[in-house]
Symmetry: C2
Subunit: 198 residues, 2 copies
């Protein structure tokens, strides 16, 4: 590589998810050849986003302000609280469902081997939130993985301690999927939890 | 989107090649959740690369200095000059071949409809370089597209005017390819240019 700085730029692009050496190279060349203005904008926005975006004090979602817009929106039902693992999960639920309650972002899942316990997930914050008495139902939307399930059980217990009803997203065969290609665990669960047709 | 700045960051990521809304979202979340240091580094490097990387006066490749390292390297044969369309093509040749001559980067191809003529490709610079009398062979490595071929013919004429021998990369069936899947144009060309086996 003739330019040291170009080499550094290619390496720097590799922090992005799914970007290897070849893609990073293509990105660096593309920006320098055709998108210098856009690249400058990206550098500035990235810098200021990293400096300014922190976590909401109430729900732990990304926010520039101390308390985020979702937590302060008066139109949202304060009796419903949905616990998700990450801000990306929150966004997926916002985009797919008509849910109009509030959220709590765990920023991870229980994983004692990685040193992630109740404190890292902000469960003290969640606990005092539930203790306020306003929340009636805690919708637990952690991922259907081993760690996600363990976290869900822990959260359900916590909810019951505060007299809040815990609920969990339904598991089963995905809509539009074909039984032949559904994994065994899902199929077995869907078979066991079959419901009577109306 | 609860945060305005997050929304701006997602839009800013879309200047990168092959990055749509969904990937941009994933990148923004990934950087904010897990790679704040790397993201900061990326922002700084991108900024300084855009500010400092210009083009080499001699070969028009990307360079921080007025003349790039490839042009000044004493180990490279000054009698060989290879013309390529873009810095990415230069890199591909460097990585794949053992070529130890110099380069000239056109930064495009002749395309009169898009307003790209000889002046935009720096052919006056190339012309005066050939007039210096040091170059013996001009290896024309433009892409095998209609515009690349037109550019190649123009460059070949220019080389002959200065008494420099023009050469062109070989066309034919790619190594490891299967005839069944090779496109018609390539196959027809390879058939016509068949050579006697030793």
């Amino acid at each position: 590589m003739s330019s040291q700085l170009l080499e550094q730029l290619i390496e720097a692009f590799r922090v992005l998810p799914g970007v290897g050496r070849k893609t990073a190279q293509r990105m660096a060349y593309h920006v320098l050849e055709r998108e210098r203005d856009g690249g400058k904008k990206l550098a500035e926005t990235l810098q200021s986003a990293i400096d300014k975006i922190g976590h909401c004090e109430r729900c732990r979602d990304f926010s520039e302000d101390a308390v985020c817009a979702t937590c302060t929106a008066p139109a949202r039902d304060p009796q419903l609280l949905c616990a998700v693992e990450s801000p990306a999960d929150l966004l997926a639920i916002e985009q797919a469902t008509g849910y109009r309650g509030r959220y709590f972002v765990l920023q991870g899942r229980l994983s004692p081997l990685d040193g992630i316990g109740p404190r890292e997930l902000g469960l003290d914050l969640l606990s005092s939130r539930l203790a306020e008495g306003e929340v009636r139902e805690l919708i637990i939307a952690t991922n259907p993985t081993v760690e996600g399930e363990a976290t869900a059980h822990y959260l359900a217990q916590l909810a019951r301690q505060h007299g809040v009803r815990p609920s969990r997203l339904a598991h089963g065969v995905p809509l539009g999927g074909e039984l032949e290609y559904v994994d065994r665990g899902t199929l077995s669960h869907a078979f066991g939890s079959r419901s009577e047709m109306p």
